[in-house]
Symmetry: C2
Subunit: 330 residues, 2 copies
């Protein structure tokens, strides 16, 4: 029998194009600060032409999490769609070089779309504003879901952003069903408050009916339950799902387990680029679960991984996360 | 009459693929530390598959210099060959976004070669070891040299690496002639001791007969004159060219003007990644010349620019070099 995976992630496979900007640039170019906006080819070309010199680093929210898990030593695999172009080759290389399994067939032939990319504009305060051209990543189809792989996943990790896409809900349903048949459990990250807005009902149904673990930040859970009160949102989360981790920026993360809430603090860090903070929190948390740790310890591990990623440009770790956790007694 | 350029550079248009490695990786994979090695497609694929997750940042030695000049406010243009592929688009964007002129036609159609790339492996001590797949950059031809542009250059800046290539010597001769007809002057950087080894006679002839300014480091001048003595090499430089700047690592740079040698010290800096140090030294120096500064001041400006580039990954400036120079009273 084949080896099992600690975590299999599904998401939008993207390369990040990162540049530092002043906040005026965001305003002048109609980029909303701190969130992810979907853009089309024409807008992508326009914005790219206007932005300054940039750095290209493999990204994609779920892929960042899987890369972090692989670096931590978890057995991790990723499912996402790139094209057989140069950015696709970079994306595949970086994930595999990190030790993750990535076997989703690349789109080839005269396909209309290129590998997706996310223009990440980093403000002086470290906040990132993302404009995403999904490209071929949007066309991940149910047939790309290898049910055999899903059945070997202890945890499935679904990227909320992936809810944008013609076949994505069906693909997710297939993945969850296969995973559960194999004895695994399923988690989702809400990704972004506007993404929640686009798919609120689908998210809520899935969280209530199918999920074992929810990742979100404070803005996303408040959007999910249409409330301005974090308190009310956390109570609603507790009622809907057995286990959840809700990050609250520099304050750390709330862990909600069987209705019991615990705030796990995070160490202060200078934010150079917030890109990937949530992704790496999830990586640390899931790695903890794979190691059989208690959720509160898992959240502490997530905070350490997130604390590393915000100290530099890009959402892929630059130091050995395993050593970093060990140094903190985790 | 069209505006003149302070500097027009010609070089290999490359995208750098940068990753941190332990020195053992270099040894195990036959990568020679601290130098640039030309590699073919097969070796590029092999090395890329073995190296870890990487960051893609526009590079190319001469292009780094031109990007630095543009950031400093000089009127700068670049000539180099990319393909009409994704890496070519990134290269062109980054140079233009920095304010440089880049009009060399992209290779299109069913050309055999992609945009060139340089795998830059950065050791813990900050030294970089480069494996370059030249790709289409090697095929810059004399017909790519716009003589009208060359005639409007106050300074021509030729990248030594570009001596590798079927038509490069002819292309350079055409550029120098056009520049001189237009009243401009010509400079070259030796780029690398092994590059000097491959083209020693051509370099020496050009330096003696055609050049007004030589950029090199200590290893390159010693290779040029086949000597183990820096002293002997500097004396030979002084005899061959009116003006030269020879960098000597953390000690700074020797300026040689009409036979008179002056050592210009550099401020100590922690080396994160030495990639681009020589390129940015040349940018600071040429910007000084464009501003009418004395060569010794130009060298101090070069040292400040080089000092910035070695404090981070990649060979394109991350902070405002103009402000940095102003802060140092330059």
């Amino acid at each position: 029998m084949s080896e099992r995976y600690d975590v299999v992630g599904i998401g939008n496979a993207l390369v990040d194009i990162l540049a530092r900007v002043e906040d005026e640039f965001l305003a002048e170019n109609g980029v909303e600060k701190g969130v992810m906006t979907l853009i089309d080819t024409a807008r992508a070309a326009e914005l790219y032409a206007r932005m300054g010199p940039a750095t290209a680093i493999s990204g994609g929210s779920g892929a960042n999490t899987i890369a972090g898990l692989a670096m931590l030593g978890s057995r991790a695999a990723y499912v996402g769609k790139v094209r057989d172009d140069q950015l696709g080759a970079i994306f595949a290389h970086d994930l595999r070089a990190q030790g993750a399994v990535f076997e989703t067939p690349m789109a080839a032939g005269d396909y209309d779309y290129e590998t997706g990319r996310c223009m990440v504009l980093v403000s002086p305060d470290g906040e990132r504003s993302m404009s995403t051209y999904l490209g071929v990543s949007e066309y991940l189809s149910p047939s790309d879901i290898d049910e055999g792989m899903m059945a070997r996943a202890d945890w499935l990790y679904l990227e909320g952003y992936r809810f944008d896409g013609p076949d994505s809900h069906e693909a997710f349903a297939r993945a969850i069903a296969a995973c559960k048949r194999g004895g695994g459990r399923a988690s989702v990250t809400l990704s972004d408050p506007f993404c929640v807005d686009r798919h609120r009902d689908a998210f809520r149904r899935m969280i209530r009916d199918d999920l074992d673990l929810l990742f979100a930040n404070e803005h996303e859970v408040m959007s999910l339950y249409r409330t301005d009160s974090l308190e009310a949102a956390l109570a609603a989360v507790a009622a809907d799902v057995r286990l959840a981790a809700v990050t609250v920026g520099p304050e750390g993360a709330w862990v909600i387990e069987d209705g019991v809430r615990t705030l796990v603090p995070t160490a202060p860090a200078e934010v150079v680029d917030a890109t990937g903070a949530g992704d790496l929190f999830a990586a640390g948390f899931l790695h903890g679960l794979a190691q059989g740790r208690e959720p509160v310890t898992c959240a502490a591990m997530g905070c350490v991984a997130a604390g590393e990623i915000i100290t530099h440009i890009g959402a892929r770790p630059e130091v050995d996360l395993k050593a970093l956790l060990a140094g903190r007694g985790l």
